[in-house]
Symmetry: C2
Subunit: 308 residues, 2 copies
Amino acid sequence: MSPFEVQLLGTNSALPAFGRHPTSQVLTIQKYKYLIDCGEGTQMRFQQFGIRPGRMHQIFISHLHGDHFYGLIGLLTTLGLIGRTKPLDVFAPEGLEEIIRIQTKYAGGDPPFKLRFHVVDTEKHQLIYENNQITVHSIPLDHRVPTAGFLFREKPKDRKMIGAAIEQYGIPYKAIPDIKKGADFTDANGQIIANALLTEDPIPPRTYAYCSDTRFKEDIIPIIEGADILYHESTFQSDLIEKTIPTGHSTARQAAEIAKRAKVGRLILGHFSSRYENIESFAEEAKTVFPDVVAGVEGTIYQPLTGS
Amino acid sequence: MSPFEVQLLGTNSALPAFGRHPTSQVLTIQKYKYLIDCGEGTQMRFQQFGIRPGRMHQIFISHLHGDHFYGLIGLLTTLGLIGRTKPLDVFAPEGLEEIIRIQTKYAGGDPPFKLRFHVVDTEKHQLIYENNQITVHSIPLDHRVPTAGFLFREKPKDRKMIGAAIEQYGIPYKAIPDIKKGADFTDANGQIIANALLTEDPIPPRTYAYCSDTRFKEDIIPIIEGADILYHESTFQSDLIEKTIPTGHSTARQAAEIAKRAKVGRLILGHFSSRYENIESFAEEAKTVFPDVVAGVEGTIYQPLTGS
């Protein structure tokens, strides 16, 4: 099965602690890798985990708090130094281009590849990017500065040809693309062979929902409904619930509540406050509401649960 | 003896490699700590080496290439999060304030302490900062963008009282400050006791010269002459000397030549190109010209050589 997985490179909130780092993730879907957020030191995490920085296809930044983007300028500099020439698209709220361009200006000029910024409207749930494999929609979140999550969804795949049927019904090569799209096949004698005899259902499109940072926000539930994997921040546990409103964050229990009501396949927690040394207790709190939950571990690769 | 030492936090050039990091150093002189350059991940190096970020007294940035300052915005954010209220002075070439302020603006406002930027004129050798313990002078360097090194020099100390003399000559407490400044003492009988009988020479003022990044530049020699410690970049070894002019860097041999002619106490090499895995060979090359040289190791604390 083609890859669909996310590797966490940083699971901590703003203040690095207990060896945990600020937020960044690499999402691999089929042939491409997408970088989601890019906290300070992300390029060093790449080295640590053997990820080649040149492989990044697009970069998505959720908001302009430093623990989500301070590593971007260093990564872009490195991409220039290692000779990238392919254009790079960066999706982020208003302001990131200004921040990056002022730094490249003083450092002696633009990188040797085309750097294209796309402003994400953090108030709207809309399509912000697509290629032939996926769509990416913004997820409006509720934080202290304009913030959007991202919903990565595979496009529906073609139906899968049944190998034996090709021989049995003498299907020529050029007829296959239409049959994969669902067409019946008319053979040399004018007999119609139903598509159901020729193909099987494809793997259903898979979905990854990235929600960081945000207060508890019920209206994201219909947007992320049924996602195979939901990453939802949980900066605090319920003992510090009074901090969630002023800081613009969630508790593990609140993240689990969202996961349950959105009927997602699995929940990954992250963005842990540096007040907590033990992150397993985040998962324990969330499990009282939603069973398929993990407290994200840096370096670990997460896939959809089998059968989800 | 009061501390005078530098701890290297990053010894690599721009592209992190072989576990080496971009440039930053903590210089401790007597009671205070000064941060010199602040490459990406400096705050993580602080954690690794048990350095408390709140202890930094001033910050000095040599130039606006990212491997010398990308970690500053993250460190400033952290200082805010851990509750710094004391003002912080940052000395850097033109442009750094603009880069930092644009980021604090989008992140929701200035940090909770006063952040004061002081523009260093990289063309001039002049006093840029002093307190009651040290002076700091700029050292004009020759790189691809405006770049200054920094010369940290202790102020002359008071002469040291000879404990036994206080009793012997019946010196009252209030006379001591003048005697430490070099005054003779007149006792109750009107007899003049020469200062040489009462005091000893103080520790001579110590000097640290920081020179990164730069092409071979002879006219820094009179500025740094006799420094107890010279840190001089050596991005390349002589096999790649043809790269020094276009990139604006030096070889280990060139750094040693500067050290020898400036009669410094010891030379620390750093800013190694990621082409080189083995850094000991930098020291070997330099030793053919100047004996008291080390290839800087991250985490290591360097002091003046005894007797230098």
